[in-house]
Subunit: 279 residues, 2 copies
């Protein structure tokens, strides 16, 4: 496994590989790897000759300084996990490598970045688009892999690739869950055992909402039920529960097979998100 | 000379050339070519194995529908000029090839796109950044060439390349002028003979401003003199005359060798721009 921390050497390395007709898969991460990330690595390894995993905690996508400071950092164990998984290349740059100076460039995706996470994390998706553009331009992958847990991020990056005519394919990999149903997330590392148990409430809420919708209950009634369910648990602060069209993320009523339920909220000080495709 | 109108074939063609280690220069144009464009082609041919000229009138960078409709279109003579100049590839796509659907993506460059042209042509530079990103991602040039006449555009594209870590070099080529001093521009084709004579006023104003500044006159006095000079000529409508730092386009007082004078205005219905580096 080759490990790079600078742009020019990884570019030169990958240029050589592309000249040998290697196809390149990219899995962008912020480290603190878990089984969800390893599924992305596995998908990339199956579909490409060479898999690059980037590990970089991008400051411009954090709207909350404390969230940035407390984001888990586990580089040594990340390296071991990636080596064991058979990943070919790690790219783990520093801030000064990724940002020569303070960034003045911002992206606006219209409706796509104004709702859901965009509403509660202003500037988040502009920072995501910026860092992902950088990573795409450094690695120039044939295919890049993102987790379905960050569904809105996947839609925005798909939009970026479509609009800028980037010569690559973007792939979404299903959510990996703990046996409890909790969606795997690097931020779960920050949960106490008690909070980890409480955090399963979000997935339970999604399942309940799905079931209620399938029984024909109106959306507003279902949302009220979820708010009530979360409201009674101490330490849980629901931010949103929404049903949107999977194509354009416009608010949706219940139309089977083309909608997604998304939920976000705090368990103590840790903000978590989850979602469920309705089929 | 190879002529392409679709993205996939030109991509495949250039991929083959890059595999043979050809370096690629890109000259993005909106057609209606003149000697200024041919200097860009010449610069690219000297520095690259293969030169691509794109010809595409990008609707998203026009803030004024009439300006878009009246923009000169001379594709057949453009092809002849490029063939005679020795250009290797023309890429002249249609709107449906460049924009699958209405664009929802907008770029914000902070101060850089709020002033000068950005102030008078809202949305212009977002459209420029969008189409140039598309062209860069289609052609993947080693080097791309832009005219100094569109100085602010050059700065914004340089910023785009720097921020997104695009693996290419951006080059600016000096303004080419008519014997009268008029900066060459595709829009000059729309001028009557009488208006073409009047249009020299902008370059004359730049020269006068430079001279007055070099004699130690304060900037506000110099701007007033230019406004007076333009104000007395019927059919001329000055939009701005500004002195800014060449690095960050911040308003500047007269500091030799690091500033640029920029002017913009209408001659009849035709909007023209010009500039002069102060050394």
């Amino acid at each position: 496994m080759d490990i790079f921390t600078e742009i020019n050497p990884v570019r030169a390395f990958l240029k050589g590989k592309r000249r040998q007709n290697f196809s390149v898969g990219l899995v962008p991460t912020m480290g603190a790897l878990h089984q969800g990330h390893l599924e992305l690595i596995k998908a990339s390894m199956m579909e490409n000759d060479l898999t690059v995993c980037s590990i970089y905690i991008n400051p411009t996508q954090f709207n909350n300084l404390s969230d940035l400071e407390k984001y888990p950092r586990t580089l040594e164990s990340d390296k071991q996990l990636l080596a064991a998984a058979g990943c070919d290349v790690i790219f783990a740059p520093t801030n000064t490598e990724m940002y020569i100076k303070q960034s003045d460039l911002h992206f606006d995706f219209g409706h796509l970045d104004k709702i859901l996470e965009g509403e509660f994390r202003p500037g988040h998706f502009s920072g995501v688009a910026l860092v992902v553009s950088k990573l795409f331009n450094i690695v120039q992958p044939n295919k890049a892999y993102f987790g379905q847990k960050d569904f809105q991020q996947f839609k925005i990056i798909s939009k970026l690739v479509e609009e800028l005519l980037l010569d690559m394919v973007i792939s979404s990999v299903p959510i990996v869950r703990e046996p409890s149903g909790l969606a795997m997330s690097s931020r779960n590392q920050r949960l106490s055992d008690a909070d980890r148990a409480k955090a399963t409430l979000f997935y339970q809420s999604l399942l309940m909402a799905k079931s209620l919708l399938q029984k024909g209950n109106p959306l507003e009634f279902v949302k009220t039920k979820v708010r009530e369910k979360c409201g009674v648990v101490q330490g849980i602060k629901l931010e949103y529960i929404e049903l949107v069209d999977i194509e354009n993320l416009k608010p949706s009523h219940f139309v089977p097979s083309k909608t997604i339920l998304l939920i976000a909220g705090f368990v103590g000080e840790v903000r978590l998100i989850d979602n469920l495709l309705l089929e």
